[in-house]
């Protein structure tokens, strides 16, 4: 009991410590790695995944998963890019992109809440359906975005980037939604135990549905940042992003069994960890193919830790 307790505390700090050590390690080899410039560069680069992970975090705290987020990003950006090309304004197309994200999220919500399909399988299905849809829209072409768009993607005041700021704002908002509103409390309650939540008379179905909608919208915002950074919408957009998001969330100490974790710190910690590893390896000019492996291992360790923490209660999900 007591041992478990100390173990848990240790696990809580495991990844922050890991992150610090790794960063220091890179810094030793390449002092400029910890230069402000590079740090903010990383914060810039991780903005898209951080935003998407925020939505994922909300879903995971509910004890569910949404692996269609990357595809949602693709579809909504595909739509807005084609609109832009056919002469729509920047604002209108972006708004529409957001709506598309919400709609696709709602589709997930419908399948899960009304058709009562297990979220994993449901979003596995939509992940591929949406990816197909997105590529169908863009014809899988590289759609170049107007310069203004790209300028926005890399717009910065000094070394602080625009999207980093927005990302932080969104993070804080969702964090507040989770910690400070009825909605958030219901989300946590569902993550604890869905049936109990129903027995107490909480609006379970509605909450699940809207969580998926929110996740969808955040996904399209993440997609927006990603394509703004590159200045184009490509069929690569959001590929495998959903898995990274799960990893980010897990590393951020948000339990896959639901109910536990802080969105703000979790997502920041998680996405920073992966960004540091990636850009660090890149910095050292290490074999780039090595990254995916490291990523996988990190995910596995994080999950193992999570499994220990929650005492193997694999009943959820």
């Amino acid at each position: 009991m007591n041992l478990d307790f100390t173990l848990n505390r240790a696990l809580d700090f495991a990844f922050p410590i890991f992150l610090v050590l790794v960063s220091l390690g890179f810094a030793l080899v390449e002092p400029s790695f910890l230069s402000l410039e590079n740090i903010f560069g990383m914060l810039h680069a991780m903005a898209p995944i951080a935003v998407i992970s925020t939505g994922m975090a909300l879903i995971v705290i509910m004890g569910k998963l949404d692996i269609s987020l990357g595809s949602i990003a693709l579809v909504s950006m595909g739509v807005s890019a084609t609109l832009l090309q056919s002469g729509y304004g920047f604002i209108s197309s972006s708004v529409i992109a957001l709506l598309v994200g919400a709609t696709l999220g709602a589709v997930n919500g419908f399948i899960i809440c009304i058709l009562k399909v297990n979220p994993l399988i449901a979003t596995l299905g939509t992940m591929l359906t949406f990816r197909g849809l997105g590529n169908q829209i863009t014809d899988a072409q590289v759609v170049v975005l107007p310069d203004g768009f790209r300028a926005l993607g890399n717009f910065s005041l000094g070394i602080i980037y625009f999207d980093t700021v927005i990302c932080l704002v969104l993070l804080i908002l969702v964090h507040a939604l989770h910690r400070r509103t009825k909605f958030g409390k219901v989300v946590t309650a569902i993550g604890n135990d869905e049936t109990t939540a129903e027995r107490v008379g909480l609006p379970v179905t509605r909450t699940i549905f809207f969580s998926f909608v929110i996740a969808g919208m955040l996904a399209s915002i993440g997609g927006f940042f990603a394509s703004a950074q590159v200045g184009a919408v490509t069929s690569f957009l959001g590929k495998g992003l959903e898995f990274t998001a799960v990893a980010v969330v897990v590393v951020g100490g948000i339990s896959l069994f639901g109910g536990r974790g802080s969105i703000l710190w979790g997502v920041i910690l998680g996405s920073l960890t992966f960004e540091v590893i990636r850009s660090g390896l890149n910095y050292l000019g290490a074999n780039p193919y090595f990254y995916q492996l490291i990523g996988g291992v990190v995910i596995f360790i994080a999950m193992y830790a999570a499994a220990i923490k929650t005492g193997y209660s694999a009943n959820n999900s």
């Binding site: 009825k182 409390k185 946590t188 536990r260």
Partner: protein, 500 residues
Amino acid sequence: MNKNILQMQNIKKTYGPINALSNASILLKKGSVVALVGANGAGKSTLMNILGGITTPDDGEVLVNNKKVNFNSPVDAARYGIQFVHQELSIFKTMTVAENIFINQFPTQFGIISKQVIEATTRQLLAELGSNLNPHHYVESLSTGDCQMVVIARAMLGNPKILILDEPTSSLSKYEKEKLNLVIGRLKDAGVAIIYITHFISEIFEVCDSVTVMRNGTTISSQAIHETDNSKIIELMLGDVASIEKKRRKERNKNIFLKVDKLQNENKVKEATFELNKGEILGIWGLLGSGRTELVRSIIGLDGQPKGTILINNHGKLTPISAEYLSGITAYVSEDRRGEGVLLPMSVLKNTALPNLQKVSGNFGMIMLNKARNLATRVIKSLSIKVSNFDQKVGTLSGGNQQKIVFGKWLETEPYLLILDEPTRGLDISAKGEILKIATDLANNGVSILFISSELEELMKISDRYLILSERHVVAELPGDSTQDSLISALSKTVQGSAA
């Protein structure tokens, strides 16, 4: 003080063939505590579910403050100031005390929950209940008693006129019980009327003003507490068993088969010691929550590793064995038939084969279909199970036949020990009879049986000896010929004992 706040009159409720409530009534005065007791299956919970708005009655009327009401949902009930504290506590482990209390009624300003407000209210609420829990402690770090406190506090938030406590003490420590009693006292003073469901008769005398006893869906007595006592209540609960003809011949060989010595399993079973003879039916007699099921599950190692020793008769000398080994020669008929007994969506054939796969398979673990079929046919015949063929899905069978399948599949393993946990629950009279018959026949063929039942009648019909359980202790052992009174008094004595 003696204003009727609630009257439920000749309520009826049937679920399909079984009628759960035939004529149930209860009366509740403002600021009073009424104990609602009865063996399980007596209909207490059904009655309370009706009051809580979880189910609706087929007939009869419910009056709150002498006005007729009918609830269609817990929300309706709450509107009339009725709060239900279920036995299994609806708590959310990863949330704080305050959050748990406010879970379904957070006060917000512009949609934002103010921590200060809810924590202040929580402190005050808990203070009223005489608890000093910290509002921002996480519930997972609390004891069951404190969780109970949280749930009661949640109920208090909807300032109830009527509070239903379902088995509030079933998993509380002695100290926690005393705390709870204090709380109940305070609530009374605050004018809240309480319905107190329990199996621990002793508690009734600590907190209740009157007792309402139910049996087979009927209210058979409502008395002020001072007009009655333990044995009276228990007698009423169990009903007087008319002339019981023992199903078995008296004289038994005292050839010991199993000895359990100081078996301890966390707080589930405490220092259980008993012996079981070959071909004997040992009736385990105790009220719900006395640790009957936990005891039998522990000896076959279903709930973790028990401490203490289990010895088995090996050619005349007792040799210690592991719980696993014992489970290897034991047939366990669980009280949860649908959850642990049968595979509902699967065929009779596969269900009967399940524990006998070794037996019905040949080389390379290939299933010998003919063997499996024969086995199924044997089972169906020997227990005269009503099925069209052995490919029929067990889910489509009647409860009795499902239970027979459970028996059948186990008998095929030729067990030495048979554990029956409420084997007749939810079965009709004839099925009950058959099940008991099977049990006795087995015993006559030398199988030793541990038999748990809440129905004293059937227990007395076939038991050769009784083991009295109370508060998770084996408190006494009675001979097979002991009378109903002696059994009941044994129980009430121990209850008294543990209460003191």
